[in-house]
């Protein structure tokens, strides 16, 4: 009997680790998910392909600039007078200036978009500081004369579609976490931007 008890005790002791080794009560915190900006390249400096030799740019900022540039091209490609469903009225005054050789406001718009998205998705270095209007004022023609007209939900859907297409063409796979996170950021801005 004593021998059996000893054996039983030994069995229980040897089995004890089994009850604690699979304990999923882990004290270490899960690793923080990288920001959108980091996943686009972050603040790693690379040669700016669109500037003179030696001019560097943060990879994340470059990624956003490529997407913004492509978004502008997609908007321009769809502009047609009198046609529904394109963003002609919002951007036509700007493009008329550009057509006349005045590129300042287009450059400012693109810079503002790159700054805004970079800074608000994790790229918080000073180069990305956004100094434009808040989203409500920026999209209210009464406060921002650069805004041709107010935006409706349909207009904003169109804009989000352009940005999504631009992101895909710049290597962000559709339905990836990164793509979905970018769209989520855009959707979070719908409320202040849509004013119709």
């Amino acid at each position: 009997m004593k021998r059996n008890l000893k054996f039983l005790a030994l069995l229980l002791l040897s089995g004890a680790p089994l009850f604690v080794s699979c304990n999923d009560d882990d004290n270490s915190a899960p690793p923080a998910e990288a920001s959108i900006y980091d996943r686009l390249g972050g603040d790693a400096m690379v040669q700016d392909p669109d500037a003179a030799n030696g001019v560097m740019i943060e990879s994340g900022r470059l990624a956003y600039r490529k997407v913004v540039g492509r978004t502008v091209q997609l908007i321009v490609a769809d502009i047609q007078a009198g046609a529904q469903g394109n963003l002609a009225e919002h951007f036509a005054p700007l493009l008329a200036e550009v057509g006349a050789g005045n590129t300042t406001n287009l450059a400012v718009l693109q810079d503002n978009l790159v700054d805004f998205f970079s800074f608000n998705t994790g790229g918080t270095n000073p180069v990305n500081t956004y100094s434009g209007l808040d989203m409500v004022a920026a999209h209210n023609p009464a406060q921002n004369p650069r805004m041709g007209t107010t935006s409706s939900n349909a207009d904003y859907d169109k804009f989000v579609g352009y940005v999504g297409a631009a992101a895909i063409e710049n290597g962000v796979p559709a339905n990836s976490d990164l793509f979905n996170d970018v769209v989520a950021v855009l959707e979070s801005l719908r409320d202040p931007i849509v004013q119709e």
């Binding site: 600039r65 321009v76 490609a77 002609a88 005054p93 700007l94 057509g99 287009l106 450059a107």
Partner: protein, 142 residues
Amino acid sequence: MKINFKRILVATGSVILLLFLILVVHIATAKPVTIELATWQVSRFDFKQPIDSITAKKIEYDLSAISGVKGDVLVKNNVVVFFHDNTQTSNQKVYEAFTAKGYKDVSIFKVPAELASKKVCPAMKQNGFAYHFSKGIQRIFN
């Protein structure tokens, strides 16, 4: 009480001079904002017919090879959109170089008059005193 007009005049003049100096220093120290790709202009060529995928690739290649054309070229349906540096070339020169490569039935897209007429107000009247004064100070100090 006797009002000393001379003292009032000196005090007022001093305040005005001080404010003027503060204005000049403020304009002089305002650094011009650096904008990336400041001279990039977006342009569009319209073809009469839709562009097939093989021609699209050729167009992207040919257009990118023209001096002054920058960044990526977009070909969509019958439309080609690209950026060019307007200190290096113009959309007319790009058009001439492009059509010299054999492309036909293509025209430079101009924003329709009814859309272009929706002008927006400039931030500052460019023929006003305030604009010329600020520009003059900036030119001296920057």
